[in-house]
Symmetry: C2
Subunit: 347 residues, 2 copies
């Protein structure tokens, strides 16, 4: 049985791409058609029991800051955020199910849960999909499978992924080797915000590349196996580091704590990279377990839009954000009753 | 009147190069001649009232660690440290007067005092020189002046210098402009350990290049004027920074404090650079005045040989030194009762 709360797998996600049969794709549909499509799909989605008391917004009714917040929370894609009239987002109350309407496809539905729970999110997604199949007529080809706007999604239309926190593999410089191996197995490795994004905060998203010619269960099985292997490598890297070079680990964790608790200006990237080392410090018992939650919260709270929302300032310069971010982190970290690192090491 | 305790001029130094008339220079003298010369000069130097209870050692009687300590304290040159039999060092009890015997010249005598006291160290040096003139027959040419091994010292044989702490000019990126201007005025700018050394810890040594064709007083006068100007520039840079970008200054000082108080491995160079910013923090009242002395002490205590002497370990790997240096700094800084930086800024 995989360990759900292993602190290395941050979240598990499955998304399905679906389109209505014989209707123009969002990229080519006229606005009136797009709006009619959106209303039809939205009504079907909102009627799901999972969507009781859901958050539902047309894209044109979302402010820039709201869209950024949703992107930072991985509840909406950047591509969807730039859409206008004719597109919408439906989000359940727990923020575990989201449906983007008229993104690249008519429906991009996702289930997301903390920890390693790929099978569970897949089942959540399948339950939603099966109910919608009864209301909407999905474009499905007998040999190809589900038809999608982009050929890379044809077949299952499924993308399954997990967000992994891999500071051990980064510090021990094994990460590139791992990424290469994972790529060879037909899986993709990306940064915090998907395709093309940097690996900030030592966070890596592993997902399937192949959607065609394989069953969902086979894809999930292979992805899970690879994630289990990466988990093992990450744990080994940490163990070896802690046994052979504890002073380097302690130095990196200590410096991160020192900078975060005393900086007066810090970028998102630096903050995430240093918070990653504090998180590692908690994993390795250099810090007490009760500081895990506030540190995890900072990963999200220090993202630009969350920061501005917290300060209730829809517009801010990058410079002011960097100062505000530092103040938020400093205040939160200095309020934690953290015993001296040295004592933790000696203890 | 120059402000002796301005916290920017760390120390003032004057050294005279002298040689005995019609005697072979150290670089060409046979060992027996060198030893005889050394004994003669040493006896004359030791007889000076300034040298009561002096430290006097032949080079072959100094351990490697002792030599390194003397170099780090600016009481002996690197060139002298590598000499063997036939060379010696005499050092007064206060460590303000040192005489290297048979370095490049028969005598390299230096006076060093904290702060901006060029005139005072010159007078100390001249008093020693005048007394020795009565005992030793110095090589002196009626038109050229004192004759020396290297033509760049012929004339006065004097090198006057001051060690300046210029973080303001470094942070505001004005330092290269200043160095270029100073060079054009016939003065040299060097790093912490003289010629060819890096500017670690934002410490710069300003000295005269010209020894020929000018009186000592003229050289000192020009050097003093230039130093006063650099002082002014440094103070302006700090004032402007504090007025216009206090958050950047606070951030740099804060991060330095955070790293120094939490690192578990640190090189000499990084330690000096961060200590420099703490020192700046004291100058700017971000830290209380009573932490100035412990911070100043760390500048010397963290140098490799001082560190090893403190730990009574004549042999250490660089890695072990970096760990020991971090522990020394962490312990000392965490023992300082320093109020929060933020309070200092808001106060």
């Amino acid at each position: 049985m995989p360990n759900i709360n292993n602190n290395i797998v941050i979240s598990s996600r499955v998304r399905f791409a679906r389109n209505l049969k014989e209707r123009p794709l969002p990229g080519v549909a006229k606005k009136a058609v797009l709006i009619a499509l959106m209303e039809e799909v939205k009504a079907a989605v909102m009627a799901l029991p999972e969507m009781e008391a859901a958050f539902s917004k047309k894209l044109e009714d979302l402010t820039l800051l709201e869209k950024q917040i949703l992107v930072e929370r991985h509840l909406m894609s950047c591509e969807h955020a730039v859409k206008a009239a004719g597109s919408a987002l439906v989000l359940n109350q727990e923020e575990t199910l989201s449906v983007m309407i008229n993104e690249e496809d008519h429906l991009r539905m996702q289930a997301i849960l903390p920890g390693l729970q790929l099978q569970r999110v897949f089942e959540m997604m399948r339950a939603v999909d099966e109910q919608l199949e009864g209301k909407l007529d999905f474009a499905f080809h007998p040999t190809l499978g589900y038809l999608t706007a982009c050929p890379t999604n044809v077949g299952t239309g499924m993308r399954a992924s997990a967000m992994l926190h891999l500071p051990g593999l980064v510090i021990s410089e094994q990460i590139n080797k791992i990424i290469n191996s994972v790529n060879k197995m037909g899986l993709a490795v990306r940064g915090l915000h998907g395709e093309g994004s940097d690996a900030k905060g030592n966070l890596f998203q592993i997902s399937n590349q192949i959607t065609l010619g394989e069953k969902e269960e086979t894809i999930l099985q292979r992805l899970s196996e690879v994630i289990e292997q990466i988990l093992q490598h990450e744990q080994n890297a940490r163990t070896v580091f802690l046994q052979q070079q504890p002073e380097i680990l302690l130095d990196q964790v200590g410096r991160s704590y020192g900078i975060l608790s005393h900086a007066y200006s810090i970028t998102t990237k630096e903050a995430l990279n240093l918070l990653s080392l504090l998180k590692l410090g908690v994993d390795l018992n250099l810090f007490p377990e009760h500081v895990r939650l506030p540190i995890d919260e900072l990963f999200m709270e220090t993202q630009p839009a969350h920061l501005q929302q917290g300060a209730q300032q829809p517009k801010m310069s990058a410079k002011d954000r960097d100062a505000l971010r530092a103040t938020l982190i400093r205040t939160k970290i200095n309020a934690m009753p953290i015993p001296k690192l040295q004592a933790a090491l000696e203890g």
